[in-house]
């Protein structure tokens, strides 16, 4: 029951997103992305294929494994980048905590003297 309630709420959100997309389509701002024939490079942008090229007709083109490899590389690089930033942030926070703790201990020791 709870799952269904949450599911219905999510469908409502998706409905709003779709409605906003439809509104967007009928505004001058649609030209920002309304460019179906543009050529792009790299993985995932299959504009020429969407237009009915040979790459669209196959089922798993193992000759195009480099496309998959490129997708994996892009995503891995992104994940690695964020993880490195996160680790550095944690290290910095840990260092500043250690420094603050050391200063506090020095003050306590100074007062004790």
């Amino acid at each position: 029951m709870k799952f269904l309630r949450h599911f219905a709420a999510l469908l409502g959100v998706l409905g709003i997103i779709f409605a906003l997309a439809l509104v967007w389509k009928h505004t001058p701002l649609a030209s920002l992305i309304s460019n179906g024939d543009r050529q792009q490079s790299g993985p995932g942008r299959g504009q020429p294929q969407f237009a009915g090229g040979p790459a669209g007709g196959h089922v798993f083109g193992f000759a195009n494994l480099d496309d998959l490899a490129q997708s994996i590389a892009v995503l891995s690089a992104l994940i690695a980048g964020v993880v490195i930033i996160d680790l550095r942030r944690r290290d910095r926070r840990r260092e500043s905590l250690t420094r603050a703790r050391a200063i506090a201990q020095q003050r306590i020791a100074a007062r004790a003297k």
Binding site: V13, A21, L68, G81
Partner: protein
């Protein structure tokens, strides 16, 4: 390990792999691309529904707590939900194989095609950040599943991560 943690982990992994494969259009071809996209859309519905509690909880806390990791995760997830929804919905609108197999002929136009590719590119970046923000949870649960370590909660509930 709680059952829902295992479900979370395997579902998230399946979603990630499906997304990467689906994004590689030249590799999959049109038919596989479209059906994988439909499956991805359905799985995402389950994924977000399973984490709806976290969405509500974090949204309520959003304006009362200072900026932090949870807030960043919420913003990334909100953007990802929007981009992924637009990607799947526009994919349905320009479908040539899957939808016609279901008896629905779509009227493809430049707007939906442009929206589909733009949303897909944005999704790649956001998926990367989304996964990376949960990397400690992924590592911990992954280790536990192969017999090392001890995870506790899902990435959404593990605010300490």
């Amino acid at each position: 390990m709680p059952r829902h943690t295992k479900i979370d982990f395997w579902l998230d992994l399946a979603l990630l792999i499906s997304f990467v494969v689906d994004y590689s259009f030249s590799f999959t071809g049109l038919t596989v691309h479209e059906w994988t996209g439909v499956g991805l859309g359905a799985s995402l519905l389950v994924h977000v529904t399973l984490h709806w509690d976290w969405v509500l909880r974090t949204t309520k806390k959003l304006f009362t707590t200072p900026a932090g990791r949870e807030k960043l995760r919420w913003v990334v997830d909100l953007l990802l939900l929007g981009a992924m929804s637009l990607c799947v919905l526009s994919g349905i609108m320009i479908s040539r194989s899957a939808m016609s197999a279901l008896g629905w002929e779509t009227n493809r136009d430049g707007f939906w095609t442009g929206l589909h590719t733009t949303a897909a590119d944005i999704c790649v970046a956001l998926v990367g950040v989304h996964v990376a923000l949960s990397w400690r949870w992924v590592l911990t649960v992954g280790r536990r599943l192969v017999g090392k370590g001890s995870p506790t909660t899902s990435p959404s509930t593990a605010s300490a991560l």
